[in-house]
Amino acid sequence: MDRPSVVKTIVNALSEIMQREYSEVTEETRLFEDLHLDSTSVLTLLMALEDQTGIEVDPESLQMENFQTIGTLADYIEGNLDVSV
């Protein structure tokens, strides 16, 4: 899975969970401040990303830094994809 696919997977999952279209988001878009993600939607987002990318995430091991922006979340997923390969 290349970087654009990872970002696209995240944006699609966010659209589904938040039930709105995100046409103008970029890797710099902030998850909490700009998209108003909350701790409940984070868990649902993780479940969706696990399902679509095959990675396994222990939510309790996550750091806030992983969830700053779409880009930092993509970094985190790419890092875990490498591990599982």
Binding site: S39, T44, Q63
Partner: protein, 449 residues
């Protein structure tokens, strides 16, 4: 002057309507009660801790001139002037001399010997929003008696598992669902409910100590059932800890949510305070409306439920203010107990405002406005921007109830998120909606561009 509302609370909790209160508005109480329990796996961070803590400033309009309010940051002088111009006689505001933003206000107070000495000299009682271990310690350190029971009682009666059991034992119409205390129990419940979810039913899983809107997950597709099953199974295997304290409930189609409040006196007397109707827009909670659009028989049913729940709370050692969430189903059936919040509620802090500024026969909306700001916003600027909306005109006005939350996240990168809490008053619902829209429009001019 002290409002009748506050005098009533003092009388119920201390036997005397003039007892001075030391208020600590620890909105983060649930997080302390949750410490010994395990909810759904969750990420170990929250974007809004500072904002939640800063809601303590709501206590400014609850306390009277004989009372004290302990807060970590002093009240904006502009907001103080505004509240006094409205005719409120404010409590004495006390700020701990050692404040660390990472700590709660009670923890800051415990680390501040000068404040502890000052509190120790007050001839009054300590009324926290809800007692947790730090507030209990504050009572011990200062010698101020608690107006309400200790942390252990609060922890016990604020669990959603407890609430479901009270409904069942008290014969109150239950929301169909289950209580779980172990992962094995939870997985068995998921097995039972999965076919329903596959048929399009929605099921909600809530942490026993989740704050409203947090610590819950809605299962509306088989893939989500599988996801949550995987998460809890994996955690239990990794930690060897099989505990899981959640309730699992069918998602009921509803007309609206309700919230009612009553006060359980030390003597066990239950006084019904009020009922409010939740206002939602596109499924998002927007605020609470009074009066609730309920026929008299539903009001009666809620009063009876309050008596049943209040009696049970008192039997279990509780006295104090309690809020209960209820649902009016789409079919007109009332579910009088969705969850108990046996602590001061948002509505408690608005009790004095509605008593003084809501004329009989009028309608009110309590809500907050989210602001995206580029820098700290002094309250005088907010006041100037809202201008005439804040003045009483032909039965309508906006009353700001908490301004400290506007700048709670000001240390973050811009734009940061702040909240302005308000109660809107108008003669009818349509004018209330127009006032709400006008307020939103005015506040937008303050936002980051």
């Amino acid at each position: 002057m002290t409002t009748d509302y506050l005098r009533g609370i003092k009388k119920a909790l201390t036997g005397d309507g003039s007892t001075p209160l030391v208020l600590v508005c620890n909105f983060e109480a649930e997080a302390f009660w949750a410490e010994r329990y395990l909810g759904l796996p969750s990420v170990p961070f929250s974007a809004s801790t500072r904002l939640v803590r800063r809601m303590e400033e709501l206590g400014v309009l609850l306390g009277g001139p004989d009372d004290y309010l302990v807060v970590s940051e002093d009240v904006d002088p502009g907001f103080r002037r505004y509240a006094e111009d409205l005719g409120f006689a404010l409590p004495t505001v006390l700020v701990p001399e050692n404040v660390d933003p990472a700590r709660s206000t009670t923890e800051n107070a415990l680390a501040s010997p000068e404040l502890l000495a000052r509190l120790g000299g007050i001839d009054g009682v300590l009324l926290p929003m809800g007692t947790t271990v730090p507030e209990q310690k504050l009572a011990e350190e200062t010698g101020l008696p608690l107006a309400v029971p200790g942390a252990e009682v609060f922890e016990r009666v604020n669990s959603k598992i407890y609430g479901r059991r009270v409904a069942a034992a008290g014969g109150l119409r239950p929301v169909p669902g289950f209580e779980c205390e172990t992962t094995a129990e939870f997985l068995a419940v998921l097995d039972e409910l999965e076919p329903l979810v596959a048929q399009g039913e929605r099921v909600v899983v809530k942490d026993a100590y989740g704050v409203s809107g947090k610590g819950l997950v809605v299962l509306d597709a088989a893939v989500k059932v599988a996801g949550v099953r995987k998460l809890v199974t994996r955690r239990a295997a990794r930690t060897g800890d099989d505990r899981l304290h959640v309730v699992v409930e069918r998602w009921l189609p509803k007309r609206f949510d309700l919230n009612y409040q009553f006060t359980v006196g030390r003597d066990g007397a239950v006084a019904f305070d009020f009922v409010k109707q939740a206002l939602t827009e596109d499924g998002v909670h927007k605020g609470h409306l009074v009066p609730a659009e309920l026929p008299p028989h539903h009001h009666e049913e809620l009063r009876r439920a309050a008596d049943v729940i209040g009696a049970r709370l008192h039997a279990d050692g509780f006295s104090g203010v309690a809020g209960v969430d209820a649902i009016l189903g789409a079919d007109g059936v009332l579910y009088p107990l969705l969850e108990i919040n046996a602590r001061l509620n948002m509505s408690t802090y608005q009790g004095g405002v509605t008593e003084r500024l809501l004329p009989p026969g009028h309608t009110a909306l309590a809500r907050h406005y989210t602001l995206r700001l580029d820098g700290r916003l002094p309250f005088d600027h907010v006041r100037a921007t809202l201008g005439a909306l804040l003045d009483e005109r032909d039965g309508e006005r906006v009353v700001v109830t908490c301004a400290g939350t506007v700048n709670a996240n000001a240390a973050d990168d811009a734009p940061f998120e702040g909240r302005l809490y308000a109660v809107l008053v108008a003669p009818d619902r349509s004018r209330l909606a127009a006032l709400d829209a006008a307020t939103q429009t005015a506040l937008t001019t303050l936002e980051s561009r």
